[in-house]
Subunit: 144 residues, 2 copies
DNA sequence: ATAGTTTACGATAATTTTGTCCGGAATTAA
DNA sequence: TTAATTCCGGACAAAATTATCGTAAACTAT
């Protein structure tokens, strides 16, 4: 479904968000300790999410990653997926054809339109804020 | 969603099925010509689908691949996916955690249970026969 | 038997994805 | 200014996936 890079990215952002709720910046090693992800690789991924303006970074002592509190409710899971994996989850034909549409459907097209729309709707309506609050309340877990 | 290997496998089986409807065996080069897939790789994949008893193969002149007509309505897309990609599409946590359940859900768990169930239902109820007939009738397309 | 056809299979190669390492740049604080 | 901290970015390495090739094995028909 998602690449590993994307999964690491989502987890990292959710963890950073839980800390941003309390106004705290977090360092990369703190992030990966709490998500079970490889440090250097996660750093790269966060780097690209910084460029996509999803998260802020600061170098130096007391530096780290942080998400503006106003943004927490605006960032959707779909934003992260789009930044890392692109739109392929939604757009790409499930059998890999370049041309596949209602007019010229591949054998699986009709079935997958439905599933992909549901997936898109889910990703586009789930905010980082929702997930972070869930984690803080102990209802959702970032490790396993 | 699916690996390339799995996509090639599904396409190949559908094409073989369209020919099996008419009692014809098909050779590997015929398969890939009609699916746009790489020959040697597709051959490997079909080899493993033979072991999973999804398709039959015959060496020698007039050999090739064929699916028993009674089986056409019994083989589901899920059988092919299971044989090649395994159950990960349904089972695996979307964020990659080993432990992720209703009791201890990852942040995305609840959303994805729904989507994965829908996906499973779709794959388990779509038969190769349905897709092959659709292709024969010119309603569904195996290239693009 | 023999020649021709076709899949099976192991070795190998190319590509993509995942992951590491390290020096440099930015920042802070003393 | 200096030293410590932290992210950044490029080179590199490992692993997984995708893909090719050549030979062997199975089969058919003559």
């Amino acid at each position: 479904m998602f690449s590993k890079a994307c999964k690491y990215g989502i987890k990292a952002i959710i963890y950073i968000a839980t800390q941003s709720l309390e106004g705290k910046r977090v360092k990369i090693n703190d992030v990966v300790d709490n998500c079970g992800s490889p440090e250097a690789f996660t750093g790269k991924i966060l780097g690209s999410l910084v460029k996509y303006d999803i998260v802020h970074s600061h170098t130096g002592p007391n530096g780290g990653f942080q998400i503006e509190s106003k943004k927490l409710k605006r960032i959707k899971v779909s934003d992260i997926v789009l930044a890392i994996d692109g739109a392929s989850v939604y757009n790409e034909c499930s059998l890999g054809f370049g041309i596949c549409s209602n007019d010229r459907p591949c054998p699986m097209h009709t079935s997958f339109v439905k599933i992909k729309n549901e997936l898109r709707r889910t990703l586009e309506t789930t905010t980082i804020y929702d997930l972070a609050v869930g984690c803080k309340n102990g209802l959702l877990f970032l490790t396993g």
